[in-house]
């Protein structure tokens, strides 16, 4: 039995610094992205005269690259792209993975075994190899990137959801629901899905960070997005050779990636704290 005092102590949760930091970064990112859409020049616009302008030069707050493209515009658009890709991939992965996990966990038996073999299959293929192959065969585009990343990304959701369902399935409130006449669909969607919701959300926030890194990394390698699509990874790749002379072309987009991933990670931490259950004093 729980000591009441234990409940007392844990009920007062401190205001969450991770959430505050995360919110602050997202707001900043939001401004930048909006500025990019509304106000800044086209990132692909070249201006050879102003090439290699350092940060804080006239008209180019963060400088320009080898072809005179405005770095700030590039960062704003690149962030926008990264966000679009990560939201799309996370959404698709979460939906696919959760459904598979729900079905496997609830129905069990042969279907569960089959779906889990799918998971094993998925894990056995090294992602880079897969991406390279697909990029060579299909060519790189926004759609193929999203599909590819989702095809790899659904697995953790399936595993986490399935494992949660397996344990929740045995709890007496599920038995009570069946006794009350609940249909299988009602049990799954009213009770079980809800139990997995917080897990999915925490996973998604971490996953978003990963997707951003994958997208930037692939674009850096030339396997992801290329102009006219704007990617932070791409400009870093371009600027690599000029690192000594024009450090801002690599460092600033790189910092942007770091901030994006950091924002999502902090969000994930904050959500994990918020969803954590009360801890009893005894037991």
């Amino acid at each position: 039995m729980r000591a009441r005092a234990g409940r007392w102590v844990m009920r007062w949760r401190p205001s969450n610094p991770s959430m505050q930091a995360s919110a602050a970064i997202f707001v900043a990112i939001g401004f930048v992205v909006v500025a990019g859409i509304v106000w800044l020049p086209d990132p692909n616009q070249q201006n050879l005269e102003a090439a290699f302008s350092p940060p804080l030069s006239a008209g180019h707050i963060l400088g320009t690259d080898a072809l005179g493209r405005d770095v700030f515009s590039w960062i704003a658009s690149g962030m926008r792209t990264a966000l679009i890709v990560s939201m799309a991939v996370v959404f698709a992965s979460a939906v696919i993975g959760s459904i598979i996990g729900l079905v496997a966990g609830y129905i069990g038996g042969a279907l569960d075994a089959l779906l889990m073999r799918l998971v094993d299959l998925q894990l056995a293929v090294p992602p880079i190899l897969l991406f390279v192959t697909v990029a060579v065969v299909v060519g790189s585009s926004l759609e193929s990137l999203v599909v590819l990343l989702s095809a790899v990304g659904w697995v953790p959701y399936a595993r986490v959801v399935r494992s949660k369902i397996l344990s929740e399935r045995e709890r007496s409130y599920v038995a009570a629901a069946r006794l009350a006449g609940a249909t299988h669909r009602e049990v799954v969607f009213t009770h079980l899905a809800r139990s997995a919701a917080s897990l999915i959300v925490v996973l998604a926030s971490a996953h978003a960070g990963f997707v951003i890194l994958w997208e930037s990394g692939l674009s850096f390698l030339g396997l992801g997005l290329q102009p006219p699509l704007v990617s932070l990874g791409f400009i870093i790749a371009l600027g690599r050779q000029y690192l000594m002379n024009a450090w801002w072309v690599v460092t600033l987009p790189g910092t942007a990636i770091v901030l994006l991933v950091l924002a999502f990670n902090l969000l994930g931490d904050a959500l994990r704290d918020r969803f954590s259950l009360d801890v009893g004093l005894v037991e």
Partner: protein, 339 residues
């Protein structure tokens, strides 16, 4: 000292004015209010009360195991030579783990599932250099023998033990450092009914044979009545009654004790007849009444009860915090007889 039944003056545990509060920012909530009792060596004291009465926090404070943001004040004396103020971390550090052993409700949870029992049991004393590993194993085996466990159990993993076996192993683990005090917090709640008596008898044996003070925390008066020499009844952070077990049960001097007794199920109950019940619920720590803490639910209350906090009325080693205590020879027993 209240509760001591003819034992040597300075032996065992003496708790003086123990209070526990939780601190969250500037908000301070009292969880245990000025509790004093003694547990002489070789005897068993039962602390009885409902969930939320503060019994677990009290014994955790004695063991030095309070959670974060929860603090204790008051004074402890263990044996003639170990004393500590509960708010002094350095003093408590000397006592913690050495003088007070603790056994908790779920025996399996006390063990790391990935380590063999033997290794875990000796880990504490070996790390603190109280024994060499070999001597520690010998001691563990000897403790097992006196608790009715085979030496072979030392090589097993926790999941291979039954509930009764793991509780005995947990008791052995708590006794490794020869503590003067053994605290058992609801040790039989997770066990089968027919095992409970065995484990409880073990605790009584530990008290007698190892000259330890044993404190048994339970919500079950029945269990306590069979094993404990002294009983302490707690409610809403305070001690309402304490004294030799048979005295308290035969002639309870506090209405709460009597009400607890009459709402307990026994094998001699009248079948299909409603049990007598204490109306309402124990109050939350923020709502504790200022005067008598049981007054809102007490059927014997009168005007003084809400006005002035009752002091501990004493009669020999039996004490009760009620304005009406020791007024009648049968105490509040008429509640009990109305079964």
């Amino acid at each position: 000292m209240i509760g001591v039944t003819g034992a040597e003056p300075l032996s065992g545990l003496e708790v003086t004015r123990l209070s526990v509060h939780a601190q969250q920012g500037t908000v301070k909530t009292l969880l245990v209010d000025d509790v004093s009792f003694a547990a002489p060596a070789g005897q068993t004291v039962g602390i009885v009360g409902e969930t939320g009465a503060g019994k677990t926090l009290t014994v955790r404070a004695v063991a030095g195991l309070l959670p974060l943001r929860v603090h204790a004040t008051g004074h402890l004396r263990i044996g003639p030579d170990a004393e500590a103020d509960l708010d002094s971390e350095s003093a408590m550090a000397r006592i913690r783990g050495k003088k007070v052993g603790i056994v908790l409700q779920n025996p399996i949870a006390m063990f790391d599932p990935l380590m063999r029992i033997g290794r875990q049991i000796i880990e504490g004393v070996v790390l603190r250099k109280l024994y060499s590993a070999d001597r520690a194993i010998e001691r563990a085996a000897a403790l097992f023998a006196s608790l009715g466990l085979s030496e072979l159990v030392l090589d097993l993993y926790p999941h291979q033990l039954s509930g009764g076996m793991s509780q005995r192993a947990a008791i052995a683990m708590a006794l490794m450092s020869r503590p003067s005090v053994l605290v058992a917090d609801e040790p039989t709640t997770a066990l089968d009914a027919n095992l409970r008596l065995e484990v409880l008898s073990l605790l009584g044996l530990v008290a007698r044979d190892f000259d330890t003070s044993v404190i048994l925390v339970s919500h079950d008066l029945g269990l306590v009545s069979h094993v404990c020499d002294t009983v302490v009844v707690m409610y809403a952070g305070r001690i309402l009654e304490e004294g030799p077990t048979q005295d308290v049960l035969r002639t309870p001097q506090h209405p709460y004790t009597a009400a607890l007794l009459s709402s307990s199920t026994t094998l001699d109950a009248t079948p299909r007849r409603r049990l007598s019940v204490i109306p309402g619920q124990p109050p939350e720590p923020t709502d504790w009444p200022a005067a008598c803490v049981f007054e809102p639910r007490c059927r014997h209350r009168f005007d003084l009860c809400a006005a002035r906090r009752p002091v501990l009325h004493v009669d020999g080693s039996h004490a009760a915090a009620c304005h009406l205590a020791f007024g009648a020879p049968a105490g509040f027993r008429e509640d009990v007889e109305r079964r």
